[in-house]
Symmetry: C2
Subunit: 218 residues, 2 copies
């Protein structure tokens, strides 16, 4: 499959490399086609990896991963242009606000009674937004078996059942077992998964270990 | 020990009954000494249980459990008066806002860059606030072994190490193993634990089971 990854940070390159490993053609998108980290990603991931602008990547991909910082995600998707229309946006970003010190809080306008996932869906109604993977360190996103036999939780939410089913298949390819993927319902449930960050950050701070995740015990 | 439980809802009566079972003298506090649920609690829990006003209970207790609704907690503690001075307040409440529909969001002024736990500590600086147990259904608070051999997480936070140690002993008596009580640090960490509610509520909604809790896998 042709997949666009928007964002050249640790999340974007981790997701991109895993997709390449799975045999997908990946174009990583950034503000400029010559972005250093994007070019490095393309050079180190073989022929099926490439780099381009956000618009290049959006036009290229059949599915689009949003791996940008939450505070710029809407702007980035505007830069991506019409290429995103009709496509699935897998939204992994979180609306973190670093302006109030550490640990970051959530961007007030994008939390509690709203969420980044919803805001993307509202701004780009011709896309199908699926929120997932945003509640953990990126190393675990693509390798859940790294801890606890892979038995810990990954949430998925979105308004389009078919889009969620497609993303679920990709998650299975990442190593996620169906019983550990909890479908919360529509995209408003991103309010819940994005609100995991405040406790995630504090557990990380207290344990000095980011390679953890939550498991639901019942 | 003499313990005050403020609040006559399910959380207050569950905590109160457990404390009585453990041999503590418990006075449950409400707006009026003749509150029906408080009197029922006192009548059904033997001689060491009693009912009174918030002020009666605060004067009686060496430790005070706040089991009121988050939206009224500050007002209730004002009604409790000087009896709370110098004492530990175990704050189990959450700042839920039901005015925007279901599931509730968090009260904006008491979340993200603030928390109910902090707000109580700020308003009543002569008390020692310890936030704990607020991330789960009350049945599990006093009986963690009900699920997963009791191996799931309970957070504790507060500014006073001695107060946290005292509360930890009570948590042990409730059935919590030390390795499952994670000290996050000072009371600002209540921002994290109270922010667990948005995802807790959605997992509950998706699974129709409130008798669950999170476990940290690493």
């Amino acid at each position: 499959m042709k997949i666009a990854v928007l964002g050249t940070g640790m999340v974007g390159t981790t997701i991109g490399s895993k997709l390449v490993e799975l045999g997908h053609e990946v174009m990583i998108g950034s503000r400029t086609a010559t972005n250093e980290k994007a070019v490095e990603f393309a050079n180190s991931n073989g022929k099926i990896a490439s780099a381009g602008t956000f618009a290049d990547a959006a036009n290229f991909g059949e599915i689009i991963f949003n791996c940008t910082k939450g505070e710029i995600s809407i702007d980035v998707l505007k830069l991506a242009g019409n290429g995103i229309d009709g496509k699935i946006i897998v939204d992994i970003a979180n609306p973190l606000d670093f302006s109030q010190g550490m640990p970051p809080c959530l961007i007030p306008a994008l939390s509690n009674t709203n969420s980044l996932g919803e805001e993307i869906q509202k701004n780009f109604p011709r896309t199908r937004v699926v929120k997932t993977l945003n509640t953990m360190w990126c190393g675990l996103m693509v390798n859940p078996a790294m801890i606890g036999n892979g038995d810990h939780i990954n949430y998925i939410s979105g308004n389009d059942a078919e889009a969620k089913a497609t993303v679920k298949t990709l998650l299975n390819d990442f190593g996620w077992k169906n019983e550990n993927i909890l479908d919360l319902g529509d995209i408003t449930n991103a309010r819940g998964t994005e609100a995991t960050l405040p406790i995630w950050l504090r557990v990380w701070g207290a344990t000095n270990n980011g390679a953890f995740n939550f498991k639901i015990i019942s």
